[in-house]
Amino acid sequence: MSLIRHVTAPLIDQNPVTLQILGICSALAVTTSLATALTMSIALTVVLVASATVISLIRHHIPSAIRLIVQITIIASMVIVIDEVLQAYAFAISQRLSIFVGLIVTNCLVLGRAEAFAMRNPVLPSALDGLGNGLGYSLILLIVGTIREFFGAGTLFGQAVVTTVADGGWFQPLGLMQLAPSAFFIIGLLVWAIRSLRPDQIETPEYTLQQQEARR
């Protein structure tokens, strides 16, 4: 049963985005709409599970001197395969994601899990850990994507939810939501909300300001 923890823990308690602040770059870039956020989430989860499985499978035979480059080679190959599959079967979406699928390889999350977990654990826990972290990343992306697409364009998955002013309705889309900074605000607010509910996630400050005594 403890295996299930590998999947559930990264959803909130160990969330890669809100606790470890990893994968922020793609979280800013692909969350302007739900469709791209979902595609990116699936692509990253698949890469994470597949690379964790393969790396865990050969972990006893990876020489420590070249372990990072072996991991990156495996991850990069997976990413190319996913990118090619998207271009073949989801062409329109892959055009909109442009380079961000290719950039999964530079996502700290993937290499981080390979190095921290898959190198030291058997195949099944590693795959589940990859799945959990992928789902944790996906959860944040989908939340941010929903907020940004709804408030930025009044649509969800491209379907109009409320009628915008441009179409003769009442809803005035918030242009800021279509720009990258809004994702910073939303992720920041999510981090704040989660840490308010789970105070044990709050990091101890690295240094504190010295209280100066009032001079007379």
Binding site: H61, A65, I66, I74, I80, V81, E84, A88, S98
Partner: protein, 266 residues
């Protein structure tokens, strides 16, 4: 039969910091990854090409839509798409030897039998070889040319850029220019495919009164009918478009065809 297995087991049993094992693992991982990537790429290529082809067709349609009144002319002529005819580039005239349907220009250019090598000093577009035949798209009304569309390509900053140039019946005025395919840097060079860049072309003149190809992509403010503003930050990609026109409208490109078309008409 058991020998290679023993060898394999002996190899795996070596300590991980052993030099032979380090190199061996590196080679094996690289080889397996290369095979996986190459297999996927080759297997999915036909599907991806079909998407690219569909996008090219859609861009052609979109280009026709941007031309004022072109749809009305087509409706009047009773056609829904442009005529495709093959042109023998050396001869400069139409030919029926090759079927335009399914013609692969880039494939033909890599085959010595269906292409010519371009002398280095004339190869401003950087494409190396040029196919002997090219498809052209035309729209005619009562035997009179209304629009001529020429496919072309050039080496860009990091990829081959393919484009379509639509010319007015005078064969000098640009009706539209649209980039149909490229692999330039997303967000930078890729902006040559944006409608904003395409919008700078209509009305420009490719040749001066003597018939010389003078159109140019310039970095500063474009002045006059022979200059077009480059995409800022994407000088190399923009310049490639200029060189593409210089080459493809020149003597080694569609030049002879355009000359003859101008003199003889359709």
């Amino acid at each position: 039969m058991s020998e290679p297995q023993n060898f394999w087991q002996r190899f795996l049993a070596r300590p991980n910091d052993d030099r032979a094992k380090t190199i061996g693992i590196a080679v094996i991982v690289a080889f397996v990854c290369a095979v996986v990537v190459a297999t996927t790429s080759v297997m999915l290529k036909p599907l991806q090409d079909a998407h690219l082809e569909a996008e090219r067709a859609a861009r052609m349609e979109a280009m026709l839509d941007t031309l004022p009144g072109m749809r009305a002319v087509m409706e009047e002529a009773g056609v829904t798409a442009l005529d495709v005819r093959m042109v023998d580039l050396a001869e400069g005239w139409f030919t029926d030897e090759i079927e335009p349907a399914g013609y692969d220009a880039i494939g033909a250019a890599s085959n010595p039998e269906t292409s010519i090598a371009i002398p280095a000093e004339a190869d401003v577009a950087g494409i190396g070889r040029r196919e002997t035949h090219a498809p052209v798209y035309l729209l005619q009304r009562d035997g009179e040319l209304m629009l001529l569309v020429l496919p072309m390509r050039a080496a860009g900053y990091q990829s081959t850029i393919t484009a379509m140039l639509a010319l007015e019946p005078d064969l000098r005025t640009v009706a539209a220019l649209t980039v149909t395919g490229h692999g330039e840097t997303p967000g930078i060079g890729a902006r040559i495919a944006d409608p904003a860049f395409a919008a700078r072309w209509p009305g420009k003149q490719v040749a001066d009164d003597t018939g010389e190809i003078v159109i140019e992509v310039v970095r500063a403010q474009a002045t006059g009918p022979y200059e077009v503003d480059a995409v800022s930050g994407a000088t190399r990609s923009s310049n490639a478009i200029g060189s593409m026109l210089t080459f493809w409208l020149g003597d080694l490109g569609y030049g002879p065809f355009l000359d003859r078309l101008e003199q003889e008409g359709l």
